[in-house]
């Protein structure tokens, strides 16, 4: 992927790079990199420790990065521990992704009011004022994969989301390849992996054998421009081998964790499987899984008025676990939690292919760790698709039952409704 030509060492930067080049950078070089991004006018978000987890936050220097922090993740559980090693990227993704930067949780789209003559006047909403020049520093390869999934949904469509597209086009992506996946990570099963392959400006691999250093690969002209401002030294064959050892170790730790082959068809053919009912007895319908997912894009657009008569149109994150998410005339369509869980899982792993030509899941594992009751979607998908539970197509062609039209759903109606 990178030319292994020797680039002269360049204290304080100055060496010339092109996409495909690689160089070695000391930890202090990352400080120069962050300073260079700031100098080029980028607002940088990167990994920080807050609230007991690694989450994206403003980073200005390596002091802000999670030095020595290691995570331990399992379904419904996350803990951080501090070691003495000083490594900066020995953790897997936490609950936050870069999604909120491009697709904010609450976004006022526009306001409208009547002027003195009764004419309606529209003005831009308050949601769109932040600078669109962002740098996403230390993004994991699965973040990159998630952004390319979101691109298909929010940009490659009839009505692209201008805010998302604006931030996305202007963003610098500095990827940190993975050396320490969590037990919940399964990107290799979803077509990804611990290596950054494409779509980045710079890709870092942290090397901790011998001296602490970073192998930096250049993915774009912009990345080359940034790296030009950083002190580098040439990459040796030993560094290349060390990088391969890091990502290979990560890959083999994850391999075989989840068998996604044929899943899309198997799930679609098992929509009446009893497991949906069983998982709904554990599922809280709290929506955490969808909101931590870096590819979930559902939103809800509502108009409100204020006391002065101004109308506000606001887009907010929504979840298929909300009762009101499937509200149509007369009431919600997906009344039972079983039907909502099924919607979530089959959309991620099956119908997303039909809709967008990709999987809706990149295997980041967030929905597994951050489910308060530790529901592991890999186990649920496997149970629904296991050969021991044959596919049942009997009701496949029938539409979801609709609630009768009329007033709102009476209290307690949920209990009476059979799946779905």
């Amino acid at each position: 992927m990178h030319r292994e030509e020797v680039v002269e060492g360049s204290p304080g930067g100055g060496a010339r790079f092109a996409p495909g080049d690689a160089a070695l950078v000391a930890p202090e070089g990352l400080d120069e990199m962050l300073a260079a991004l700031a100098r080029l006018g980028y607002e940088t978000s990167g990994p920080t420790v807050r609230g007991g987890a690694v989450v994206p936050g403003p980073v200005a220097s390596i002091e802000d990065l999670p030095a020595g922090w290691h995570d331990e993740q399992s379904p419904g559980r996350y803990r951080l521990e501090h070691g003495e090693d000083g490594s900066l990227f020995s953790w897997a993704v936490g609950p936050g992704s870069f999604k909120p930067e491009l697709f904010p949780p609450v976004h006022e789209l526009w306001q409208a009011r009547r002027d003195g003559e009764g004419r309606v006047e529209f003005v831009a909403g308050r949601g769109s004022s932040r600078s669109k020049k962002r740098a996403f520093f230390g993004a994991r390869p699965c973040e990159l994969a998630a952004l390319s999934v979101l691109d298909r949904v929010l940009v490659d469509c009839a009505t692209p989301d201008p805010f998302y597209e604006g931030v996305r086009r202007g963003a610098v992506l500095v990827v940190a390849e993975c050396g320490a996946p969590a037990s919940t990570c399964f990107c290799t099963s979803m077509g990804g992996g611990p290596e950054a392959v494409a779509g980045f400006d710079l890709a870092l691999t942290e090397l901790t054998d011998g001296d602490h250093r970073f192998l930096v690969r250049v993915g774009s002209a912009l990345g080359a421009e940034v790296l030009t401002l950083v002190t580098t030294r040439p990459v040796t064959a030993a560094d290349v081998a060390a990088r391969e050892a890091v990502t290979e170790r990560a890959r083999s730790a994850m391999d075989g964790r989840f068998d996604a082959a044929g899943l899309a068809e198997l799930l679609a053919g098992n929509i009446e499987h009893p497991r949906w009912q069983e998982v709904s007895e554990r599922c809280l319908a709290c929506g955490n899984c969808t909101l931590v997912c870096p590819t979930c894009f559902c939103s809800d657009v509502r108009d409100t008025t204020d006391l002065s008569g101004t109308v506000h149109r606001t887009r907010s994150w929504a979840s298929c676990f909300d009762r009101d998410h499937s509200y149509l005339h007369g009431g919600p369509v997906r009344v039972s939690v079983a039907s909502r869980y099924r919607q979530w899982l089959t959309h991620k792993l099956s119908s997303w292919w039909d809709q967008f030509g990709t999987s809706g899941c990149v295997g980041c594992g967030r929905c597994i760790t951050w489910c308060p009751v530790g529901i592991d979607m890999r186990a649920e998908a496997a149970a629904v698709c296991s050969p021991a539970s044959p596919a049942r197509h009997d009701r496949l062609a029938q539409p979801e039952p609709r609630r009768p039209t009329g007033a709102d759903v009476p209290a307690g109606a949920e209990e009476k409704e059979a799946l779905p």
Binding site: C286, G287, L291, S308, W370, P372, E414
Partner: protein, 265 residues
């Protein structure tokens, strides 16, 4: 416009007054509100009293006396839209703990002269007595939600007040989950949003002030808390606070207490 302003009246039953105080708490919007509605009855703000009927009645507090039960019917009859505000009016409040014990058990503990007290055996929400147009939850309610409900009623639209879980507010504001990252007991997954995820944002598990969300699975949350080592009687206590008598919470606290007595907690 001023002559046709809709009228707003505030009524109180058994409660602490905190919810109606939220109306005064709307400091920035209060003048604008007073221009949009005629405040016909609001004892915390003015002695002036305009007789009904009223366009919008905000009702705080639960029904705990025979007189309350009569008065709530009179209020209903003289109000076009009746909105209950707070956990007391919408679920019976903390005082509904009396519903769990034989009548009069707490009176002797609380009052020096229980013989002066004449009250019903239960504390019940307004909706147990009359039809209610909108229930605004919370202990106390959120003032932004209160303004939203009043504004929506004035505009003739449906209030944007969501019934999903507090967890969704944590995620929207970027709070790292206390339950997952620290093992802190939290009622958020079964509690209605509205506070903005206030307590988890400052490191305290959700108390459940806003009562049950639209869809809840209290049994699964309770099972997780017990797996983390919480005693069943302590889990029961989580469900027995300001919304103890809300049906979904009442069922779970009873189940936990039964489990505790069997000794499996």
């Amino acid at each position: 416009m001023s002559t046709t302003r809709p009228s707003l009246a505030v009524f109180k039953f058994t409660s602490c007054d905190g919810c109606q105080l939220s109306l005064l708490d709307c400091e920035d919007e209060l003048l604008e509100l007073a221009r949009a509605v005629r405040i016909a009855k609001f004892a915390q703000m003015s002695r002036a009293l305009v007789e009904g009927p009223y366009d919008i009645a905000l009702v705080e507090g639960s029904v705990t006396t025979a007189r309350d039960a009569e008065r709530v019917k009179e209020i209903r009859a003289s109000s076009r839209q009746l909105v209950t505000i707070g956990a007391c009016a919408s679920a019976g409040g903390i005082q509904a703990l009396r519903n769990f014990v034989p009548a009069g058990s707490y009176t002797g503990v609380v009052y020096a002269h229980p013989e002066y007290i004449s009250s019903l055996a239960t504390s019940t929400p307004i909706s147990s007595h009359v039809d209610v147009d909108f229930e605004l939850h919370g202990c106390p309610i959120d003032r932004h939600q209160l303004l939203e409900v009043i504004t929506a009623l004035l505009a003739g639209r449906r209030p944007v007040v969501r019934g999903y879980s507090v967890c969704q507010e944590c995620k929207a504001r970027g709070t790292v989950c206390l339950l997952v990252a620290r093992g802190t007991a939290c009622m958020g997954p079964v509690t209605r949003a509205g506070c903005g995820g206030l307590c988890p944002a400052v490191g305290r598990g959700c108390f459940g002030c806003f009562g049950p969300a639209d869809t809840v699975n209290t049994g699964s949350l309770a099972a997780r808390l017990r797996r983390d080592g919480m005693q069943a009687r302590d889990v029961a206590r989580l469900f027995k606070t300001f919304n103890a008598a809300a049906p979904e919470f009442r069922v779970q606290s009873a189940a936990e207490e039964a489990a505790g007595e069997e000794g499996r907690g």
